[in-house]
């Protein structure tokens, strides 16, 4: 499905936001590299996908009734063998038996790294704006973010990257790998285009965390909220 179709389908199902696997499909349609993942419907499929991607993996429950997955215990990380995948799958089915489930997303776990956020929202004055900054669960407490109007040019994206207070973290802070700013800027440009081109559908977007590690830059979670 192309992005427009994904948004239309979500609206037809009376949902105001895309499930993570749908949001990741949207990113993929923008040629954004995401960690290997697959939506599965039983534990055999889960194990098969995990083996295909290589351990460790992460299991996430996909349900329109669970938006804040971490808060609901709908994300289990660092599953390092078939047994753990199977147990987690069964545990999900038991704990969430009373809600409508779209499936379980099996995803190759991204190695630790610097957690960043790219998001968009709709400002009453400026329309779609993009935010870049330090991500993770503490994003709202740390508030180290920079805004630009969508869409941004690569030059503007690079400028924004250079403006966060913690920019030293991008330079390979205390033995961490250096973040590829060029690649990061491309990602900001693509997300800003996504928000701009689909402004009649999308009101908010959180790509958080985006993990930057020695292998590259990976959107690990994605949330797209429709108008």
């Amino acid at each position: 499905m192309n992005n427009r179709e994904l948004f239309e389908k979500t609206k037809q199902e009376n949902r105001s936001w895309l499930l993570e696997h749908e949001a990741k499909q949207v990113l993929q349609n923008m040629n954004i590299l995401i960690p290997p993942s697959k939506l599965v419907l039983n534990e055999e499929e889960a194990i098969e996908s995990a083996k295909e991607f290589g351990f460790p993996v992460v299991l996430k429950l996909m349900s329109k009734d669970v938006m804040h997955k971490t808060d609901s215990g709908a994300v289990v990380i660092d599953l390092s063998n078939e047994q753990e995948v199977k147990e987690t799958y069964i545990d999900f089915m038991r704990r969430f038996e009373n809600i409508e489930i779209a499936g379980v997303l099996v995803e190759k776990m991204v190695k630790k790294g610097l957690e960043l956020i790219i998001g968009t929202s709709t400002d009453s004055t400026f329309g779609p704006v993009i935010l870049f900054g330090v991500g993770g669960v503490l994003v709202e407490a740390i508030k180290d973010v920079v805004f630009r109007m969508c869409p941004v040019t690569k030059e503007q994206a690079l400028g924004a990257i250079g403006e966060i207070k913690a920019k030293i973290l991008l330079e390979g802070f205390r033995g961490q790998p250096k973040v590829n700013k060029d690649q990061l800027a491309d990602l900001i440009v693509k997300i800003s285009q996504l928000a701009w081109e689909n402004r009649e559908y999308v009101t908010e977007m959180d790509i958080n965390p985006i993990i930057a590690n020695e292998d590259g830059i990976f959107p690990v979670d994605a949330r797209i909220i429709l108008k």
């Binding site: 929202s121 400026f126 630009r148 109007m149 400028g159 908010e204 977007m205 909220i225």
Partner: protein, 476 residues
């Protein structure tokens, strides 16, 4: 790019002007504006008053439609309820550019909104350009245009100069204009635009016009919100590479951020966004009113620094330390003097003066000590700007000589030279003498350094975008 004439050009570049509501009662708004035009406007002025008769030796036309000649622009100064009719007649007469200073429209609620909507209909029907309503309109001393309806006895007019201003708030505009008239020589203003309710002409039109106006060398803005924020930022990005653009975006606590479903929405308070966008567009944002006049003094009289290295000269340790703190707060650096300059300073001054940076001439300082210190650091290639601090109550300092030396160095204009005079009567007298020559003087070390910080921020912005700060000239 298609070069289009900014719509405001039609208001300033006029040969004939009509005052609708020219009152015969002294100091009434319609009387003041009529007086302004008759006294200053080099083109033809027409006055309209339904009662007819004469005012200041000019015929009062009972209606706009009675005027036979063509008219380029008009100012409507009648009570709000009569404004739509006056606007309609302007339209019929073929006047395309109209300023409506009267209040009592959308800003007062329901009843006013109805009136403003009537105005919109007329504007559309005749394809009019309208400034206002609820505004002071426009002022340009060089062009003899002045729709500010407060008499000169109350609101003093600054003379012609490099600064153009546009403001959403008329009261801010009146106060700031009045202030500029009393700042130094009072020669500051090129174009002033107060657009009030922005029913048509708004902040973006204003920026577009004065950005391209060759007489405008720097721009000061006062905004509370944007009518066309996206375009404003796009235009500002271009203009800020040609002339400094600075000002206040008030209404900072407006709560745009809501508990949205995303972190991004939760972080997206309108002011956080505005702050970043202003910064990116090269608009120097200041927060307090006094910083605006400080900007006019600093940008209007001194060149941009070519670097961030500051020399501080003081006669008081405390003032020097506070200035040094502000230097780092403003992302500036204390200069390290070059060896020969350091040697010169060490040889010139007694052992108990501090010849590092800040140079502390102590309470024993004389005006000549200041002069020698200025001379040494002004020519040091390691120094990009000078902060000259003086607490004038010390015994051996001849304040008149100090004023003379300060004035001389501030007028060299090779590097920014900013002064703070701190104290009571003696300081105030010296300040007034210096300001009369448009020498930038501030009442505290912090304000002097902060003004330098803004000059330097602009240099940095220009360099980041590949523009040579030497290409920007505000001061003559």
């Amino acid at each position: 790019m298609i070069i289009m004439t900014a719509r405001l050009e039609n208001f300033f570049n006029v040969k004939s002007f009509c005052v609708v509501g020219a009152s015969t009662t002294p100091n009434k708004p319609g009387n003041v504006v009529a007086y302004n035009f008759i006294n200053s406007f080099p083109g033809k002025t027409y006055l309209v008053n339904p009662r007819g008769g004469e005012l200041y030796g000019k015929k009062l036309y009972p209606s706009i439609l009675d005027v036979e000649d063509e008219i380029d622009a008009a100012c409507i100064i009648v009570p709000a309820k009569y404004a739509p009719q006056a606007l309609e007649q302007c339209g019929e007469k073929g006047i395309k550019n109209i300023i409506v200073t009267t209040g009592g429209f959308s800003e007062i609620g329901e009843e006013g909104i109805v009136l403003q909507n009537q105005m919109y209909e007329i504007m559309k029907k005749y394809n009019l350009n309208v400034i206002g309503p609820n505004c002071l309109g426009i002022y340009s001393p060089a062009l003899g245009i002045d729709t500010m309806f407060l008499p000169d006895s109350k609101l003093k007019r600054p003379k012609s100069g490099p600064v153009s201003i546009f403001t959403q708030s008329g009261a801010f505009g009146a106060a700031f204009i009045d202030q500029l008239s009393g700042l130094g020589s009072g020669q500051w203003v090129s174009k002033f635009i107060s657009y009030g309710n922005a029913s048509d002409i708004n902040e973006t039109d204003s920026l577009e016009y004065i950005g391209e106006d060759s007489d405008t060398k720097m721009i000061i803005i006062y905004l509370e919100d944007f009518k066309d924020g996206r375009k404003f930022m796009e235009i500002a990005r271009e203009i800020s590479l040609k002339k400094p653009l600075m000002g206040i975006k008030a209404n900072r606590t407006e709560t745009g951020a809501k508990a949205g479903a995303s972190h991004t929405a939760a972080l997206s308070s309108n002011d956080a966004i505005v702050d970043d966008l202003l910064d990116e567009a090269g608009i120097l944002r200041v927060i307090t009113w006094d910083e605006l006049a400080d900007c006019v003094l600093a940008f209007g009289t001194q060149p941009l620094p070519l670097g961030d290295r500051v020399a501080i000269i003081t006669d008081g340790g405390g003032a020097g330390v506070m200035a040094s703190d502000m230097v780092s707060d403003c992302n500036l650096k204390l200069a390290e003097f070059s060896p020969d300059v350091q040697k010169k300073l060490d040889e010139t001054f007694p052992i108990f003066y501090s010849t590092g940076n800040p140079i502390d001439l102590t309470g024993s300082a004389t005006a000549e000590d200041y002069r020698d210190a200025f001379e040494a650091v002004y020519n040091d290639p390691n120094v990009d700007a000078i902060i000259n601090l003086n607490i004038p109550c010390i015994p051996d300092l001849d304040i008149n000589d100090y004023v003379k030396y300060t004035s001389e160095f501030a007028q060299r204009k090779k590097k920014p030279f900013l002064t703070a005079l701190i104290g009571g009567e003696e300081g105030t007298k010296a300040t007034n003498k210096l300001l009369a020559e448009d020498i930038p003087v501030f009442p505290s070390p912090g304000r002097a350094v902060r003004a330098l910080g803004l000059l330097t921020d602009y240099t940095k912005y220009l360099r980041k975008h590949g523009v040579d700060p030497k290409s920007i000239h505000v001061e003559d």
